[in-house]
């Protein structure tokens, strides 16, 4: 209990620290968004008009302390302000639209690669030393050492441009209305196939290796030998004894990577022009859309904190021995 409480206090402190960094970081970036907006447009605004507009966008020239307090207050009340680039769209709405796509793409990719990777890891560990094991290990090495951008671009080139099997970007056909009709859903699936496949390629390797190594570590344990001695079938021993125990740390690793996954898949979204959270953040950085950047970093940090807490919870519940680490 004390352990959990300490962790909770830490998370609160971390959240405040993250929110503070969040507040200062965009303000330290050179240039301001109004300038960007007008350096692009061809209008000849006089200085008075520019200042008037700055006022309406909330760039109060209040002392930084005041701005900070106002920001902290808004953070805890869930008000993330309005986007500058897409004025007057609230940040929460903008991120909400993107979140749906990210959850869909990234969520499904994670589940698929987790299941696939874990299965592959189990089988590779069981058939240790055989060709299967080597192939799986090599594929895992490949997927963990090649940049996401490279895999995405290659996929796009082979399947998008050369073979033309999949569209070159986008969440769905822009001509269609979002609705729950068959045409739209099919279009979404068609457009999401390539990015999802790329993510699966990227993620499976990690899960496979994790599972494999955990399994290998376990295979020498007594209860495995015991299971075999009892006359249980190979599959049973493999799945119900070894795999189940090796699953624990793997699930923990999944929980931790959820935070990362929500935070990005950025490169994949940028290459495939998928309108998810990662792409939104990227566009916001290019446009210096402070409210969106801040809102997004905050959400991602919170997601990481939550998933870390879940992991801590699972430790305490399942293995008090590991408290020290």
């Amino acid at each position: 209990m004390a352990f959990l409480l300490r962790r909770l206090v830490f998370y609160l402190a971390a959240f405040i620290a993250a929110a503070t960094i969040n507040f200062f970081l965009p303000r330290l970036m050179p240039g301001d968004p109004i300038q960007i907006m007008f350096s692009g447009a061809g209008s000849n605004l006089s200085m008075e008009n520019l200042n008037a507009l700055k006022l309406t966008f909330g760039f109060i020239d209040a002392p930084i302390g005041q701005q900070y307090l106002a920001y902290m207050q808004s953070v805890f009340t869930g008000d993330l302000g309005r986007s500058i680039k897409y004025y007057p769209l609230p940040v929460t709405e903008l991120l909400g639209r993107a979140l749906i796509w990210t959850l869909g793409l990234v969520g499904s990719a994670t589940i698929v690669s987790f299941v696939l990777g874990t299965l592959l890891g189990v089988m590779a560990a069981w058939r240790r030393g055989t060709l299967f094991d080597t192939v799986v290990s090599l594929l895992a090495i490949f997927s963990s050492s090649v940049p996401g951008v490279v895999i995405s671009l290659t996929m796009l080139f082979v399947f998008g441009y050369t073979l033309g099997w999949f569209p070159n970007g986008y969440a769905a056909d822009p001509m269609l209305d979002p609705e729950f009709g068959w045409t739209y859903i099919l279009s979404v699936l068609h457009h999401g196939a390539l990015p999802m496949f790329t993510m699966v390629v990227l993620l499976t390797g990690g899960f496979a290796v994790t599972m494999r190594n955990n399994m290998i570590n376990l295979l020498g344990e007594d209860y495995i030998v015991m299971g075999r001695a009892k006359g249980l079938g190979e599959n049973q021993v493999m799945l119900w004894y070894a795999a189940r125990n090796a699953l624990l740390p793997t699930v923990s690793s999944l929980a931790i990577s959820v935070g990362t996954i929500l935070g990005g898949s950025l490169v994949i979204e940028v290459v495939f022009n998928y309108p998810g959270l990662g792409n939104t953040l990227y566009q916001a950085i290019l446009a210096r859309d402070y409210p969106v950047i801040q809102g997004q970093l905050l959400i991602m940090t919170s997601a990481m904190l939550v998933s870390n807490f879940v992991v801590d919870l699972s430790y305490v519940l399942l293995d008090p021995r590991l408290k020290k680490a």
Binding site: N44, L45, Y87, G169, P174
Partner: protein, 552 residues
């Protein structure tokens, strides 16, 4: 069984026959690129309103058609009259004009709009209020603008301002943040029939005064985030009208459907190298303020290669030392080319000779040319990060400049940092774009008026000449076209002699179209108007009215 089939067949036929009667002429357009549509049709929001708000929802009083005879086309106004003393101008609205909700459009709306601008300066994106002494209603259809100074070019400024309905906007508490989601307008397409983050449709104004000319019922605007996406849509044949940079357009677009896919690039803003006359580095300043140095640098720019490689051949070359180029052909002074033309052309040997003879030789043996007094010249060309065509152009320019012995490098700060450096004149050399306008007066006054130094990036070179400024002022105060021409000729000659900026090319404004579903498109053979569908071009309204659906 057979009976069912017959019934099915019969009903199918009936449906098929009924369909064309209710089919609308829908034009699919890409006018701006964004990642999500936000429902904002406020015509005063220059940067966040949808690009189809101006001209299509809020029709201008008149449109200057630069291409078809350089004349005014009257839209909401049936005429306007500039007083002889150039201190006032009156517009007369057409009879029987109605807003899309049925209310009449009257002089009250015009007066209201201009009072509104005074009340909320953030809306005045054209700084027109500052020129007005007063705006008075003469009668139900006539408004007179009384100016503070005589100004022959005031018409262009006035017609750029949208007129909004008093009966709607007088109740708006904060017009700057008002999104105007269900606009009441005066233009051809005012009704928003569908709006999602991915697509929206803008349809016919039930009370449009020129409905007889309008054969397009709706405009459909799919959300497209960037150039590759627009290209994909164009290549698929789903877009009718677009304005986007397309690489290698003959192969990537035209080749997909040579019969229907077409494009026409018109020259637009001037892109020129600027050397900072107030450069923070004293040694650089010595070189930059010497016209011989500038002339030599100008002759070291291989404009054609830059156009071919960095610009894919799309821009139009600008070798005019008076900065105007092809775009302002109608105004150009042939004397400029005769006396100073050579300084605008790429000529490596002549440049080397000029540098040598002006004393820019390597004094300290470091391999780079120095000032005649021996002090070093180190040039850093600032280009906004991410503007790849400019970056490419600069890299090409740097190659030749280095060959000639100049110490140049390129840095790519953030766009807004670049903009502020230009505004505050804290850079040494850069590329700059000056928007083109109906009359060369505008680029000249925006670039060389000392009152504008420190306010916009167009005056980044910080050069001025009191005679030129005086002549520009006089230009707006004379009414006789012949007199205007004499003044403009003299101005050009002065500018060409000083070569304050080094023009490279005129950016193309992009225009792609398909004749699959609509005909009547402007083209090089059919120059009815400037057909660029971006919101910087009011002429697009004329293009819209010239379109006719093709029988499918």
């Amino acid at each position: 069984m057979l009976k069912n089939k017959v019934i099915l067949a019969a009903s199918a036929m009936v449906l098929a026959m009924a369909a064309p009667a209710s089919a609308q002429a829908v034009l699919t357009v890409s006018s701006e690129q964004t990642t999500t549509w936000v429902r904002n049709f406020n015509p005063f929001n220059q940067t966040s309103a949808r690009a189809t708000t101006k001209d299509f929802i809020y029709e201008p009083l008149a449109i200057f058609n630069r291409l078809a005879g350089a004349k005014w086309e009257y839209r909401l106004a049936e005429s306007f009259e500039l007083a002889d003393d150039l201190k006032s101008i009156s517009f007369t609205l057409r009879d029987g004009l109605k807003w899309s909700d049925g209310e009449p459009i009257t002089a009250d709306d015009v007066v209201f709009t201009y009072d509104y601008l005074k009340k909320f300066p953030a809306l005045d994106f054209n700084s027109v209020s500052a020129l007005m002494e007063s705006v008075e209603k003469i009668d139900e259809r006539t408004v007179r603008f009384n100016l503070l100074q005589p100004n022959s070019l005031i018409t262009t400024t006035i017609v750029a301002m949208p007129i909004v309905p008093e009966h709607i906007w007088k109740d708006v508490a904060d017009p700057v943040t008002f999104a105007n989601e269900t606009p009441v307008g005066s233009g051809p397409l005012t009704e928003i029939t569908r709006f999602t983050p991915q697509i929206y449709e803008q349809c016919r104004n039930p009370n449009y005064w020129d409905a007889a000319s309008l054969k397009v019922d709706c405009m459909r605007l799919p959300q497209l985030a960037d150039n590759p996406q627009v290209l994909a849509a164009l290549a698929e044949g789903t877009l009718d009208w677009a304005t986007s940079f397309i690489p290698d357009i003959d192969n990537t677009f035209v080749a997909k459907d040579p019969e229907h896919n077409k494009y026409w690039f018109l020259p637009s803003s001037i892109v020129a190298f600027t050397l900072n006359f107030e450069a923070p580095d004293e040694n650089n300043k010595k070189a930059f303020t010497d016209v011989n140095f500038r002339r030599a640098v100008s002759m070291l720019i291989d404009r054609q290669t830059i156009i071919d490689i960095a610009g894919y051949g799309y821009p139009v070359i600008n070798e005019d030392p008076a900065m105007l180029g092809e775009f302002y052909k109608a105004f150009s002074n042939p004397e400029v080319a005769t006396q100073f033309g050579q300084y605008g052309k790429f000529d490596f040997d002549a440049a080397m000779a000029l540098l040598d003879s002006s004393g820019y030789v390597d004094a300290n043996g470091d391999g780079y040319r120095d000032n005649p007094d021996g002090t070093p010249i180190t040039i850093d060309i600032e280009i906004p990060n991410g503007w790849t065509d400019w970056i490419d152009a600069t890299q090409i320019a740097i190659e030749t400049l280095k060959q000639a012995g100049l110490n140049v490098a390129m840095s790519t700060p953030e766009e807004s940092v670049w903009a502020s450096d230009l505004i505050d004149a804290k850079y040494s050399m850069s590329l700059n774009a000056i928007a083109s306008a109906a009359n060369p007066y505008f680029p000249y006054i925006r670039s060389f008026n000392p009152d504008d130094f420190g306010k916009s990036r167009f005056s980044a070179q910080r050069w001025t000449d009191p005679e030129v400024v005086e002549m520009l002022n006089k230009y707006t105060q004379v009414k006789d076209p012949a007199e205007q021409k004499t003044i403009m000729d003299a101005i050009q000659l002065k500018v060409a002699e000083a070569l304050p900026v080094i023009p490279v090319y005129n950016s193309p404004s992009f225009y792609q179209y398909s004749t699959k579903r609509f005909t009547g498109w402007a083209s090089a053979d059919n120059q009815i108007t400037s057909p660029v569908v971006s919101n910087a071009n009011p002429g697009r309204l004329i293009q819209l009215l010239a379109l006719e659906p093709v029988a499918q």
